[in-house]
């Protein structure tokens, strides 16, 4: 009685439930990922909010990048290339990328906390990243460069920490998504970090390396007399000239450095030899990729090997096939300041959990020894001379003994030269080293040096 019907009804119900199960499987497993990622899904924004990406702070604890209403904002465009942009569509750069694991909370989590979080399905809490950059100095450097394109790098020589790492033109990291088309096609290439990615001919600033190589090899001393009577020399049929006429026709090597004599340095370079010069350049980091948290391009000593004498000569005074970055030249200056020990540059000092617990602490490091302390001392005195009597006068700061070297690098035929300056201060117990590059701006002494003066003067007040 009704038994068969009831059984059939039961089967029908089971069939119905099975159908519902398959439908649930369809929506949750098959369509799940696309539904979850669908832009109409309010969970995306809510989860971003909840996930709380960590903040980035500057040297003084000021927040310079944070997530507000689901969007990543930067305090100032001057920090754009250091911070990098954080875009769902176009990727991440800068510190946002280098420390993405820590900022998103994926890395650096103590095991116990991680297990607890996995068990409960709690969203990750991002960690805060503290930079070595001083925002005030960075913005000052930004203003000092004006409309020029270029870079300013300021380093604490005692640790290798960068107080300023400015690349111009800048942009606003928060609006990268909206302005991607114009930003990526802008011929000023604002998305590029000139500090560590930009490669330029160093010009006369490289003379510091040549001088270091020569003095360290014992070939020459600052006091060694040299002569440059005509302002030119011919090597294997190729005529090399000084950029400016020398005040005297004979002087010592120190003044050859201060007055940036291409003729003297071409000959010094020839006597140092290609192998040795390349070797010393390599010790400073040239020809390799500097270890650095942000995107870095490998620098280059020369493309041609073995080097014909003309190439060696022009390399010795800063042309040739040399390609260096502003960061690299700052490292050169800092090495000279540190008695010949090459510092390891860095921008991130600490990673902290929101409650203040320190997850990572950067300890200053060294990349090796480039030159001996006496050599370094000799270089420092020559650099001081360059500021006192030489072409780097515009970098002088009242009341402080500053050392530096200008550079005016040939850029592209028909375009003005690139304007360079590297410097250290105070010369006797150096605290800071700086490198300034201004693209297509002309004389280093006229353009880059004054910028360095402004930044260095302020920095000496700030950094004890």
């Amino acid at each position: 009685m009704m038994e068969q019907q009831i059984r059939r009804l039961g089967s029908a119900f089971l069939l119905g439930f099975a159908l519902l199960a398959c439908t649930a499987g369809y929506w949750q497993a098959v369509q799940g990922p696309s539904l979850a990622a669908n832009p109409g899904n309010p969970r995306l924004a809510a989860a971003e909010q909840r996930a709380l990406r960590g903040r980035i702070l500057d040297r003084n604890g000021r927040v310079v990048a944070e997530t507000v209403d689901g969007q990543r904002r930067a305090a100032t465009p001057a920090l754009a290339q250091v911070l990098g942009y954080y875009s769902a569509r176009y990727g991440t750069t800068g510190v946002e990328r280098a420390y993405d694991g820590q900022l998103s909370g994926r890395a650096g989590e103590p095991l116990a906390a991680r297990l607890r979080r996995l068990l409960l399905g709690t969203p990750r809490q991002g960690n805060d990243v503290q930079l070595t950059i001083d925002t005030g100095l960075q913005e000052l450097a930004d203003r000092a460069l004006g409309n020029a394109r270029g870079a300013v790098v300021l380093m604490d020589v005692r640790t290798g920490a960068l107080l300023v790492s400015l690349s111009k033109p800048t942009f606003d990291p928060a609006t990268v998504d909206e302005h991607w088309a114009s930003l990526s096609q802008d011929d000023g290439r604002p998305l590029y970090n000139r500090v560590s990615q930009g490669l330029y001919v160093p010009g006369s600033t490289f003379k510091a390396v040549t001088a270091a190589a020569a003095i360290d090899s014992g070939l020459i001393q600052p006091s060694t007399p040299v002569s440059d009577p005509t302002g030119d020399v011919t090597i294997e049929g190729f005529r090399i000239t000084d950029a400016e006429k020398m005040p005297r026709s004979t002087f010592d090597f120190a003044h050859a450095f201060a007055w940036s004599s291409n003729v003297v340095f071409a000959q010094v370079g020839l006597s140092v030899g290609a192998e040795r010069l390349r070797d010393y350049a390599g010790r400073f980091g040239i020809g390799r990729t500097l270890p650095f948290e942000l995107e870095t391009s490998p620098t280059s000593f020369s493309r041609t090997w073995p080097m014909p004498p003309v190439l060696l000569a022009s390399t010795a005074f800063g042309q040739g096939e040399l390609l260096v970055s502003p960061l690299q030249m700052a490292v050169v200056a800092a090495t000279i300041a540190r008695d010949g020990d090459v510092p390891r540059p860095y921008v991130v000092s600490q990673v902290r959990m929101p409650d203040g617990t320190i997850l990572e602490q950067h300890t200053p490091g060294s990349l090796g020894r480039a030159i001996s302390p006496p050599t370094a001392a000799a270089l420092r005195s020559m650099m001081a001379l360059a500021v006192e009597e030489g072409f780097a006068k515009n970098a002088a700061i009242p009341g402080v003994r500053v050392g530096g070297k200008t550079g005016t690098a040939q850029s592209v035929p028909g375009m003005p030269d690139h304007s360079w300056y590297i410097g250290i201060a105070p010369v006797d117990q150096p605290r800071l080293a700086i490198a300034v590059l201004m693209e297509f701006s002309g004389w280093g002494s006229l353009e880059a040096a004054p910028v360095a003066r402004q930044v260095m003067a302020q920095a000496l007040q700030v950094v004890r």
């Binding site: 009685m1 009804l9 439930f17 949750q28 497993a29 539904l35 669908n38 309010p42 409960l120 399905g121």
Partner: protein
Amino acid sequence: MSWRGTELGLLVLALLPALCGALLLAQVLERPLTDPRFRPLFALAGLLLLCHVALAALRFRGDQVLLPLVAALTGTGMVLVTRLVPALAPRQLLWATIGSSVMVAAAVGPWEVRLLERYKYSSAAAGILLVALTLVFGLDPNGSGDRLWLGTPALAFQPSEVLKVLLVVFLAGYLVDKRELLTAAQLRLGPVRLPPLPYLAPLLAMWGLSLALLIWQKDLGAAILFFGIFLVMLYVAVGQAWYVAAGGALFLLGSAACYALFGHVRLRVAIWLNPWLEPQGRSYQIAQALYSLGSGGILGAGLGRGYPLYVPAVHTDFPFVAFAEEAGLAGALALLLLYALLVTRGLQLALLAQLPFNRLLATGLTAVLGLQTMVIIGGNLRVIPLTGVTLPFISYGGSSLLVNFAILGVLLRLSHEEAVRRLRATGSAEGAADSVDRRLAEPPVGRALQPAPGTRLGHDRQWRMAPLPERERGTMGYRRWPQGPLSPCGRGGWG
């Protein structure tokens, strides 16, 4: 005192998910377990255990699986309410308390299920009256636009919930009563045999009237449910498979008519067909539900960690989706399994029942639970358009909870009566001591169930479902039949 060890064991197992849910929520919300918001959940667990104790103490001998199944579902429902709208949890507990009291009272009270057969016409009348009342005095306490509630804004209940039970009672009684008459072929339309109109007509009238009223009230979910219940019970009682086909055709006809006539039907169908047309507008609810499902994935977002509240009215209309988002496909499948087990168990009880009325009633009540579950989950998953029915035992809703517990009480009562019959048949001394059980031995009411002349009273062997010879298949199991002009003996029956 009866030892109900299986029930106790299963009950403890069934309450574990709810307790784990409380633990998880406590961690996620970072509150201690003693926080007031968890009290309704623990109280519910205690309440259900108390029901078990009451059943055992009152010598209940019925099914031991139903209560744990319902406990698992109700517990899950309470966890969901605690997670979604904690302020409503105490009210859910209140209705669960009332419901479970009614359930226990129905299970062990001094009555018999077959008594309901007497009140079939009263049930029908009461049902129609309720619907009429709602038409006139209906309230809309939730502001949803449909006036489907009766009572006061503070304490309102949905008559359609009671109505479906009344319908089942009426149908069970009527169909059993008129069963042989309905199956006697009086009209032939080619290969098809129609039951005699005088007996079919009242059925159709009753059914048509309730449908019309429901559709007028825009309670589409209840209309679908009623249609389904009617069809199911008719099929089970009379056994003609073509009824299902005819019913399906009628359903399509009726749906088309409704679609053509009513704007709100067209809207529901439009939203169902393409939820992405106006995802911020009118199909917002189902679009959000789909996002919710997808975001859950296979393992879920985690209890308290998903965003089910983006779905409007999630605790009443979409609790399945909320659970699926946070417990994932795994949780959704587990929930479906629980409901499937509930329906299966109910139908097994129906098969165990000896009296045809009991059998049909159990089938009908189980079908109510099953159909309602499938309609709402189907709507949640976009298999069918969304309707306003509740998910039994899980949705937030007092009248729903109360009526479903009452249904459970009747099913438990049925299983108890059958268990007692079996005990008595095996000559157990315990069974004889109970006064209620003694009354069970007396002949039941109703013309159709008169014992054949010559049989002995007080002995239930006649009601044993022994396998029958072929020619007596259609005799409802009775070896002897009051002879009369309408006797179906020898007519080849049905089936």
